[in-house]
């Protein structure tokens, strides 16, 4: 089911510490895929992404504001797919301060202290949210016949 807001059940997924993946596209049509350490819940219709060092992503969303984010929900056995639109960048205020603290916590947990450094909190409007359940695990693939493609 596709939603146009962030449902309550996505909040633990945003806080599970598992890196998310973000896809953006430059004005000349080149996609860019990057791993992001944090997606922050601002309100039902807005999320903030940490701007640390992924400069191509930062450039892309300023040229073309559309962005795709995929979150891993290992407890819920699902991926969450967000379609977002970049709105603005914040370098101070409550969202920035909270994200800065969380980034530091993630950095210390993953041995990346001093490398992860929040430069800005980028605020995005939520265009759509979709939950994609993982297929039921039935054992290693090579026990089966190879599946067919297109």
């Amino acid at each position: 089911m596709r939603l146009t807001h962030l449902p309550p059940e996505i909040r633990p997924v945003l806080e599970n510490g598992i890196p998310a993946v973000m896809v953006t596209c430059s004005a000349d049509g080149t996609p860019n895929t990057t791993v992001i350490s944090q997606v922050y819940y601002v309100d039902e219709t807005h999320a903030a992404l940490s701007f640390q060092f992924f400069s191509k992503t930062i450039r892309n969303v300023r040229e073309n504001p559309r962005a795709y984010v995929c979150l891993a929900d290992l407890r819920g056995h699902a991926s969450w797919v967000l379609q977002l639109e970049f709105q603005r960048s914040e370098t101070e205020g409550p969202v920035f301060d909270t994200m800065d603290m969380q980034i530091e916590a993630i950095a210390s947990m993953t041995g990346m202290s001093g490398i992860f450094k929040l430069r800005a909190a980028d605020i995005y409007r939520v265009l759509s949210v979709e939950k994609l359940p993982y297929p039921t695990w039935t054992g290693a693939s090579s026990d089966d016949q190879a599946s067919t493609g297109a």
């Binding site: 895929t33 791993v35 795709y68 994609l132 599946s147």
Partner: protein, 160 residues
């Protein structure tokens, strides 16, 4: 040409990957990648895509050919992004499935210390079974390991 060091990373250490495409309106889409292989010519790669991440993939690739695949070793975070052009897609073969199974075992082994109580099937299910193989020509490789060098182009080398 993909350097030998990066081929070793892809074949022996990397355990998670994701692909990005875009449609004719420049709207980006993501596709989980459950496995990958490097062509014998060292200029092409094949990404294996699970069924639930096929929507928008082939129509976008056939429309514009643009593909970016990021491959990471978790938890070290060594990461490279491969940008290139779609060549073709095909059914998944038995050898491809074995590659995905090897990567799944690597991934679960790397995650287990951090998620000691997670059910085995939940971790296994994260690396889904492949449904489609997408072959592409690698034109550029970028370093994406977090740190000051993140985003720098490795292939082709930047002329000084």
């Amino acid at each position: 040409m993909i350097p030998g060091k990066i081929i070793r990373f892809l074949e022996q250490y990397a355990n998670v990957a994701f692909a990005g495409t875009r449609d004719r309106d420049l709207v980006p889409y993501g596709h989980r990648v459950c496995g990958w292989s490097v062509g014998a010519d060292q200029r092409t790669m094949t990404a294996f895509i699970p069924e639930e991440f096929r929507p928008k993939l082939i129509e976008s690739l056939q429309e514009n050919g643009e593909l970016a695949v990021t491959v990471e070793e978790f938890p070290s975070h060594e990461t490279y992004q491969f940008k290139g052009r779609y060549i073709r897609d095909r059914d998944v073969l038995h050898d491809d499935v074995e590659i995905v199974d090897r990567i799944r075992r690597r991934f679960v082994r790397s995650l287990r210390p951090l998620m000691a109580h997670a059910p085995e099937e939940a971790l296994n299910a994260f690396v889904a079974k492949p449904s489609l193989a997408v072959e592409f020509e690698v034109l550029e490789i970028y370093l994406q390991t977090p740190g000051p060098g993140a985003g720098s182009r490795l292939i082709p080398p930047i002329e000084k």
